[in-house]
Every structure is written in C-alpha cells, then in structure tokens.
Amino acid sequence: MTHFSYLAVIAFITLCAFGVNLGFRLRIAERWLELAQTQLAILVIYLSWDTWAIAKKSWFFDSQQIVNVDVLPKVPLEELLFFLVVPIMTILSYQALLKLTKWQAPGEAE
C-alpha cells in the first residue's frame, strides 16, 4: 500500500482537475491543441531538468513509496505524471478564475 504514497497525491490532483473542469463547465477537452502543445513544452523543459537533477543525485525517491516504474533513467513514472497533471490543474485554475472574475484572457483583449 505504501508503494502508492506518491501516486495518491497525483490521483488527488487528477480528481480535482476533473471536478473543476466539470464544475465550472470549462470544456478543456475542446482546447486539446493548445493543451497538448503546452504539455509537451513543459514536459521537455521540466522533465529534462528533473532527469538531470536525479542523475546528479540532487533529489531521490523512497523506493518503498513509489511504484518503481522508470520512464527515463532513474526517473519514476510518478514524476512524468506530476509534470502532466500539475500543468493541467494550473490551466484549469486559471480558466476557472477567468470565468469567475469575468476578466478577459489577455488573448481575447484585441
């Protein structure tokens, strides 16, 4: 059970993401193109940093609390999922606040 400690927090954020997307009717899936582009760019930047930092032992993970599937040399699956789910949650929070405050997105101003 402890092997899911890291995965649990990712599952929680994912649940929040679905909740916010449905609750605020954000229909984020309709904006799949910029979502995919943003995700890909973030993955390239931050997973590279992470992979490098893990290689030089800046940080390390407790093998008892992760599922022990590596997606890159010594980079646990949970890290990849983290860099996917956190940007989505960031975008959903932003879109929800835009809707709530009725402020215009910068791109819609022109």
């Binding site: 400690s5 890291y6 927090v9 954020i13 904006r31 193109l33 910029e34 979502l35 582009q37 943003t38 760019a41 973030i42 930047i45 931050y46 940093w49 930092a53 032992k57 800046s58 940080w59 390390f60 993970f61 407790d62 609390q65 992760i66 956190v86 940007p87 949650m89 960031t90 975008i91 929070s93 932003y94 606040l97 835009l98 405050t101 402020w103 997105a105 910068p106 791109g107």
Partner: protein, 106 residues
C-alpha cells in the same frame, strides 16, 4: 550548480520567456497573480505530503537548507517558474492557434 541556483535561473528564464520571447506578459496581469495565489497553498500541501513522508529527499549539499512546510524553499521558485511558464505557453499557443484558424477561414 546546485538546486538553489538552477531554481533561481528557472524563475528568471520563465519571466524572460513570458515578457520577451512569447510576449504574453502574464506576469503583469492580475489574473496571473490571482491564479498563483490560489495554487500556492496547494503547492505547499503537496510539498508537505512529499517531504514529510520522505517520499522525496534532497541532498543537503544541493539546497541552502531553509524549509517551508517540510520542503526546501527552492521548491517555491521551481513552482513559480512552472506556473508562469505553463500559463505563458497556454496563452501563446491559444493566440497562435486562433490566428492560424482565422487565416485558414480565408
């Protein structure tokens, strides 16, 4: 370079990207700071979960040693950079895709 230096560089890089490369200027907008303020406590909670249970541990020589809710303060810089970079990219791609679709509409 240790985590502290790189985290600081990541913040500078995210700001420069937002202002001058993507020209999204998210950092000058209230909505950006409102979003950051909303996410901040969730980042602290996530950091606390990951560090207090020792799911992730940091090499002492890589950080300055100051901590907030269990996690090195460097994590706040990392978080700030990723939130800014994510929203700048999101707005950039949104505008570019809009322009492209208008162009193909004729």
């Amino acid at each position: 370079m240790i985590y502290s230096d790189i985290a600081l560089d990541a913040v500078v890089l995210a700001i420069l990207t937002d202002l001058f490369i993507l020209r999204t200027q998210m950092i000058t907008r209230g909505i950006y700071w409102l979003t950051y303020a909303l996410i901040f406590p969730f980042q602290i909670a996530t950091n606390w979960w990951l560090t207090s249970r020792k799911i992730v541990q940091y090499s002492p020589s890589e950080i300055i040693g100051r901590r907030l809710a269990g996690a090195p303060v460097e994590d706040l810089l990392f978080g700030f950079s990723m939130i800014l970079m994510t929203l700048a990219l999101w707005e950039f791609f949104f505008r570019r895709n809009q322009l492209n679709s208008h162009a193909s509409d004729g």
